[in-house]
Homo-oligomer: 159 residues x 2
């Protein structure tokens, strides 16, 4: 499914979505993070992203968003992803195909657990890196920690 930055490539993912119920509160919250204007395309994109925690390509997201707001354009998908990503709400990872996938992962600082089989991204918190560790000749102000492996569902199906 995906390729960690310089790590093992993996196979393609199954298709069943809707692992989570869409929680309207989160949708509003995410929309607010995008700015004051609430438009149909933005709402559609946000709903689609919140409906699954799987990594999906911008094209995928566009297709799904258009099922809700038909006029949505790819440019807006990119613009929206850009903002959510800057806001730390979206995780970006390279799929094994080489394409880039995006997944919504909520608010606040957290690590990521990314399933190499289905591409699901789950936030891991609280943060595992407490009080910046002493690094010789370097003072860290932030960090990014991603775990790669299998979610329980995929581990079960893996047989």
């Amino acid at each position: 499914m995906l390729r960690a930055d310089g790590v093992t490539p993996v196979e393609a993912a199954p298709a069943d979505e809707r692992d989570h119920d869409v929680r309207d509160r989160d949708v509003e919250e995410a929309l607010a993070a995008l700015g004051p204007s609430v438009t149909a395309p933005r709402r559609a994109i946000v709903e689609v992203m919140l409906a699954s925690n799987r990594l999906r390509t911008p094209e995928d997201l566009l297709r799904e968003a258009r099922a809700i707001a038909p006029a949505t354009s790819l440019a807006t998908v990119y613009r929206t992803l850009e903002r959510l990503h800057m806001a730390g709400r979206v995780k970006r990872a390279t799929l094994s195909s080489g394409a880039v996938g995006y997944a919504y992962c909520g608010t606040g600082h957290h690590e990521h657990a990314i399933c190499l089989r289905c591409g699901s991204v789950r936030p891991v918190s609280p943060c595992l890196i407490s009080g910046s560790p002493a690094i010789e000749g370097f003072s860290a102000t932030s960090h990014v920690l991603d775990f790669y492996g299998l979610c329980d569902r995929c581990a079960a199906e893996e047989r």
Copy 2:
């Protein structure tokens, strides 16, 4: 200088290189990792990469490599980076310009400490994530941990 995956963008870097002496042993070691054939372009690219731990664009690397092996092509720079990256010897990160930078960071598993000001990449080991931490509903098989901040030199110059 660079943009962590979803983190703070930063300013451009100064230009003085050659933080480290080129150690021939490492050059040979890296060349070996590329395969049995040792060619002038490969050697030039490897030497250039080992001569600095700064993130540099493929174009930069090409320019520098050509000072040693004039016939080197951009395609070969990419091919070489690809191999070194797959071998875990090269760290890839997005510069604030949006371009992608590459830096040599040695062998074996390690974390990375990346200076947001000069783009230097230093391997951090031993690994700080010991014995995969228990993550609810997920079994991790690998991880990537990057620290962002300032190296001592930049911290000093930062004033």
